[in-house]
Point group: none
Chain length 215, copies 2
DNA sequence: ATGAAAACTATCCGAAGGGATAGAGGACCT
DNA sequence: AGGTCCTCTATCCCTTCGGATAGTTTTCAT
C-alpha cells in the first residue's frame, strides 16, 4: 500500500509520514515537494496509491483547477487537501474539485488518524470549524497565509540536522563542535533556516521545529 | 461529562486538558495540584466523573497505598496513572491498586488519545515497553525522575505568560513592552523559568513549552 | 564543461541573552 | 505581626546571537 505526501517542506512531510506509518503498517510513503513531481507519479506501475496528502500551497499549486488536475491524474486515489490555515473558499473549492477531505496542519494526531481512516474508507473529512465559517469570507481569500509557524521552504539535510540540535538547546559553538565544522558556518546555516521557516530567532525556530515533529 | 487532571504542575495539566477536550466534546476538566484537593472532590454532586489522570509524583502521593485510596474514593471512576518516567514496580503497583492504565507523559498524542479511548471504554492501557521491562528493577525504583523534558515544577501564571511569548519568538524587550514591565524583569522571570524547566536557554525552553502544548 | 546549489570559512559589528547581586512593594496565610 | 511567595526594578558583566560581506570547495545535474 502506498501513499503520497505532497508538500513543499520536508519537515511536515516527515511528521505526516510518521503519523501515517504509525497508523498503517506496510505503508510506503512517497514524498514529493513540487506539483510536477507529483504529476510525474501518475500512472506509475506497482502497488496502488491509496492516498495523496496534498498541500494547498505547494510550488505549482494554483487553487481549484490544480486540484482538479491532480484528482483527474489519479482517478483511483483519494486526494486529501492539507494546509496550515485555510479560507472557507479554499475548502469549498477543494471539495468541488473532487478532494475527499481537508486536513488543517494543526489537526491533532487523533483526529488526523480518524480523518485518514474515514477518507481511506471512502468517506470524506472536513474540520468541524468549517461549519462555523459557513460562507464567511476571510479578509484575503486567496492567500490566507502566514501559516502560523509552518515550514514554507525546503530545508537541506544539513539545515535539518542543525535545526534539531538548536531545538535541543545547543549553542552554535556546540553544534559546530558536534558536526566538526566552524561556529561561523553554523551561524550561516541558522541564518538560512530562520529565513526559510520565517522565524524571528532561534526560540521561535525551536518552537516551530518541535511543533513540526522534529525533536 | 467530567474528568479530573491531578498533577502538580499546571503546564502539564493544561496540555493534558487540551488533549482530552480535543477528543471529548462536552468535557469539563477539573484541575487539581495536590492529593487532598483531589480527595475533596470525592462524592461531589453533579455530572459523573468519568476519568481521573493521576500524577504519580504529586504532593501527597506515596505509592500503591495512595492510589488505592483514590480508587476507593472514586469507585465509579476510571483512574489512570500518569508519570514522566516510571519504574516497573510503580506500574505493577498501580495496576494492583486498581488503576485502569499507565500513561507515560511522553506518550505521543495519538497513542494518548487511543489510550484514553480504551480506558473510557472500560479497558486498560499499558505502554508497550512494560513488556520488555518485565520484572527488571531500575536503579532507583522510588524516584525514577528527570522526566526528559517535562516541566518538573510549578510555573507561576506570570512565568507561563512569558514562556508562551518566548516560544513565539518574542525578545525580552518585546515581552516587557507587551506586559508593561521592564526588560530586566522579563529577564529575571526567564532565568527562573529556565531553572524550573531545566532548559539551557530560551531555544530549549521554547521547544519544551511547545511540546507541552503551551503555544 | 559550465553553472547552480550546498557546504564551508573568515572578519567585523551591534543587538540580545543569560547570570549575579541587591532591593522594594503587595498578596496571602497563620 | 511575621513569613512566604510573587512581582517588579536596577546595575554590572560577559557570552551568544544574528546579520552583512566576501570568498573557497565540492557535488551534482543539464
Amino acid at each position: 500500500m502506498r501513499a503520497i505526501i505532497a508538500d513543499d517542506h520536508p519537515l511536515y512531510r516527515e511528521a505526516a509520514g510518521l503519523r501515517l506509518q504509525r497508523q498503517l503498517h506496510d505503508l510506503e510513503v512517497i514524498e514529493v515537494g513540487r506539483l510536477d513531481e507529483l504529476l510525474a507519479l501518475a500512472g506509475t506501475e506497482g502497488e496502488p496509491i491509496e492516498l495523496i496528502l496534498l498541500d494547498l500551497r505547494m510550488p505549482g499549486m494554483q487553487g481549484g483547477q490544480t486540484i482538479e488536475t491532480v484528482v483527474e491524474a489519479f482517478p483511483e486515489t483519494a486526494v486529501a487537501l492539507v494546509s496550515g490555515a485555510a479560507a472557507y473558499e479554499d475548502i469549498k473549492c477543494a471539495i468541488d474539485a473532487g478532494a475527499k477531505g481537508f486536513l488543517p496542519k494543526t489537526l491533532p494526531s487523533k483526529l488526523f488518524a480518524g480523518a485518514i481512516a474515514v477518507i481511506l474508507a471512502g468517506g470524506s473529512y472536513l474540520p468541524a470549524e468549517t461549519l462555523q465559517m459557513n460562507g464567511k469570507v476571510s479578509a484575503n481569500p486567496a492567500i490566507d497565509d502566514i501559516d502560523a509557524g509552518a515550514i514554507p521552504d525546503e530545508l537541506t539535510p544539513r539545515q535539518l540536522q542543525i535545526l534539531a540540535q538548536l531545538a535541543s538547546g545547543a549553542t552554535n559553538k556546540e553544534i559546530g563542535r558536534g558536526l566538526g565544522i566552524a561556529e561561523v558556518t553554523v551561524k550561516m546555516h541558522i541564518r538560512q533556516i530562520l529565513r526559510k521557516i520565517n522565524a524571528r530567532n532561534r526560540a521561535e525556530a525551536a518552537s516551530i521545529a518541535t511543533r513540526a515533529g522534529l525533536i
